[in-house]
Amino acid sequence: MLNVSVISPEATLFEGEAPSITAPAFDGEVGILAGHAPMVTVLGTGTLKVGNGPSFTVSGGFLQVVDNQVRVVTESASKA
């Protein structure tokens, strides 16, 4: 399982476990499963899906994966 947190400047929008996430990276969608190598990538604009759970519209910021911890840090995010 992945430990996911979605953070915007104003608030932490989501924190919890998910089997996978799909995020809009700067050059297209990127999917992340448990056991992913440590990675930092810049995000573009699009929809972030957390497993089968909530999805968010995000724009800008970055995504960091390390030891099954995923941090999506974005400049603007809202529940989609």
């Binding site: 947190s5 953070i7 915007s8 400047p9 104003e10 608030a11 932490t12 990276a25 700067f26 050059d27 190598a37 440590p38 990675m39 930092v40 990538t41 810049v42 800008g60 910021g61 970055f62 960091q64 390390v66 941090r71 840090v73 400049e75 603007s76």
Partner: protein
């Protein structure tokens, strides 16, 4: 009973004032609570940004980032002064203005040109009064500052810093330490302090590249510093207003005790006098 009636009027007016100040105290207390929640909610973002920036940072990269340039001499600096739009908060805005003036004096004595950007009616009003020109003035930032507000404040300054027409940007804000202590403070947001390099660096896969990620994140970091200054100052403003209104309520209570004592004394004296007059009158009739 002229004195008595006058005192009744005063008691009523003090009671009304106390009602207002007590309500304002309660309103500020609840607003402070919400502002505090926003200060806390803003922390994870700052931590996450700081973590990633310091893990990507290395001195060679720093050379190529205009936002990380460290000017040897500061020729021109900008100060963003954050004050409140409303009064009745004790010395809150006055303290911030004092801090800003001290900073201006210090920078100018070092030969730096200072441009002032004021947020909040109180700051704008003061500098208009002393006749110091303001580079920009904003009074449209509400009780609930957003990241967009912060961006609109600092983006233009960031561009000026990048093209070299500004060498430093300071924010004069309140640091919310606790409900009782929120001292004014000048924070330097630009140039960005060099992040400390972490010892144990993870081998990250970086897309597109460390440089590109930093290009994206450094402005976000600066905007976030300003955003946090805004939310903290709002929390401090409400806490200052709460304290001021609590003092006003307490003072009104003290005054009421005194007025009521005077009133009762006057009333009693009046009764005593009436009795004395009746007794006097009766004994005159008997005599």
């Amino acid at each position: 009973m002229a004195k008595g009636r006058e005192l009744v009027g005063r008691i009523k007016s003090t009671e009304n004032t106390r009602k207002i100040t007590r309500t304002m105290e309660m309103v500020s207390a609840s607003k402070m609570k919400r502002a505090m929640d926003r200060v806390i909610a803003a922390r994870p973002y700052a931590t996450a940004l700081g973590d990633v920036i310091s893990s990507l940072y290395n001195p060679e990269l720093a050379e190529s980032f205009p936002l990380l340039r460290q000017p040897q001499t500061t020729k021109r600096a900008a100060i963003i002064l954050i004050t409140s739009n409303r009064g009745l908060a004790g010395a809150f805005s006055a303290n911030l203005i004092k801090e800003a003036r001290a900073l201006i004096t210090r920078l100018e004595s070092e030969g730096t040109e200072v441009e002032l950007h004021a947020v909040g009616k109180k700051g704008i009003g003061y500098f208009k009064y002393v006749g110091r020109p303001l580079a920009t003035q904003r009074n449209d930032i509400s009780d609930r500052p957003t990241a967009a507000d912060a961006a609109s404040l600092v983006d233009a300054l960031m561009h000026q810093f990048i093209d070299g027409s500004l060498d430093a940007v300071y924010v004069v804000q309140s640091v919310y330490k606790s409900a009782l202590s929120a001292p004014p403070h000048s924070t330097r947001v630009l140039p960005v302090a060099r992040p400390e390099q972490k010892r144990a660096q993870k081998d990250y896969l970086l897309y597109p590249s460390a440089a590109a990620i930093l290009t994206e994140l450094l402005p976000a970091y600066v905007r976030n510093a300003v955003y946090r200054a805004l939310v903290e100052t709002v929390a401090a403003e409400h806490s200052a207003r709460r304290t001021a209104m609590k003092n006003a309520t307490d003072n009104a209570t003290d005054m009421l005790t005194l007025y009521r004592r005077d009133y009762n004394r006057a009333r009693q004296a009046n009764i005593t006098q009436e009795i004395a007059e009746i007794v006097g009158g009766a004994s005159a009739l008997q005599g």
